[in-house]
Symmetry: C2
Amino acid sequence: LSPAQEAANAADPLPSWNEGNARNIIMDFVEAATTEGGPGFIPEEDRIATFDNDGTLWAEKPVYFQLLFAIDRVKTMAPDHPEWKTEEPYRAILENDMESLKDQGMKGIATLVMTTHAGMSPEEFQKIVQEWMSVAQHPETGKPFDQMVYQPMLELLNYLRANKFRTFIVSGGGLEFLRSWAEVTYSVPPYQVVGSSIKTEFVQENGRYMIKRLPEIEFIDDKEGKPVAINRFIGKVPTIAVGNSDGDLPMLLYSATKQPSLQLYVHHTDSIREWAYDRKSHVGQLDKGLDTAAVRQWTLIDMANDWNRVFPE
Amino acid sequence: LSPAQEAANAADPLPSWNEGNARNIIMDFVEAATTEGGPGFIPEEDRIATFDNDGTLWAEKPVYFQLLFAIDRVKTMAPDHPEWKTEEPYRAILENDMESLKDQGMKGIATLVMTTHAGMSPEEFQKIVQEWMSVAQHPETGKPFDQMVYQPMLELLNYLRANKFRTFIVSGGGLEFLRSWAEVTYSVPPYQVVGSSIKTEFVQENGRYMIKRLPEIEFIDDKEGKPVAINRFIGKVPTIAVGNSDGDLPMLLYSATKQPSLQLYVHHTDSIREWAYDRKSHVGQLDKGLDTAAVRQWTLIDMANDWNRVFPE
Ligand SMILES: [Ca+2]
Ligand SMILES: [Ca+2]
């Protein structure tokens, strides 16, 4: 059984959640949403739940895992590209010069993404990601990255689906990167994944028709891009929206325009089992979002106190 | 009961389809797709069916119905825009000068779409479309436009869904225009509608957060745009693809890259009950598609012979 299936079979739908405010608010909301005739009832067609991914469904420290994928990919590709030894940002990566890579900022990252994510079909790219996922290890925990998902969130996804919520991922991460493993890991099919994307074209190569991934950014699914993408891809205002950073704030504000609805922030408070960070973090900064949550009385999921288990065993 | 529900309840899943080649090929394909262990078996997660809309699920003569909506909308808005009396393309529309409108080509149409489709939220736009749909009549049949859908295709949608195919609309028509009525008419929810779109932004107006539709084309979901959009929105190669024009040819070719799969063309052969047109038609031209269908032995749905009923009664 996968951790997701295991969770679905349990009698308590949220066994990794401690008794407390977050768990109560979630369960009360879902019970009301499914109680026909009640004030909190939500018709099935409006039971749309959108989840951020990095820092919400899986960890994001020390850096976004997709960046680690791209770095590993450059190292794998390097033997065919001797020129990379002196060319940035490849030189920095090949020499593990992370400070220099950081100094190259978004331009360096963009070059890196284009080199490692474009030039092939989505199917070929997904296969590359899946192979990486099967061997790569988190630099601090040594775990496979698909074991760095949050067990309580797997349970929440299942619990919502059992109550006829349709679960979508709305991530700043790459669309096809996510699709490579989201179906197996989260039971979220590709047509329920919304993410950042590069351009593609439909071409015929060697007599074979295919979608080809191009080295050009199409859409960044972050900040105001999230509600825009939710409208475009889903076409409904989510009645549940879950995030962990300021990048999710527009998505939560958009969700809050519909009533009843539930907005949740995962608050990284657990320096022992995970990482503790919020207002000052480079990755997953939660600053304006914390202020807004306080004003609007949104629920914070306090990782240290609300979860009795963080990762699947 | 809606026509869609009525069809679902019938013992014969395709009562409006005459015995014959098209019906047999469809039913054989679906039976094979759902026969585990057989050579035609398709796992549930790959049962993705994509349907063009204009000319495939509903009629498209004398012109695309969305154009008639835009024309009606200009007439409704005209009292607030006295300047339109002398400004093209509005003048042509207000004077029913369709020849002149036609001469203004895509530029005139684009202006028309921007004026009538932008400047409001998706919810407001959908309400406008729904109100139009409830009163507007087809210029030749006098029927409401949502009764100009093809009964055999409603049955096919239901039949596929009953066999665990997920049905998507992939249309050159406008995304929100379609979403306004696709859920009621076709039982296709908004997140399974792919279409052409205009840009949007997430804004705060009068203290209220909203998605706002902007007067700028974002994406044309036609020709090579269809496989590109299928990859982006659905993320799976469709195992059934149904269209009626050359604009659908890339979608059908894309579908054919996956095996087993089924490609279908609706061939408008019925000048009595509907319209007869193909290679020379301005709307819904089917020329290169007919040649490709012959070479690849794709199934043509011969409207005159394969359907015993065209529209819901
Ligand atoms: Ca995040
Ligand atoms: Ca068409």
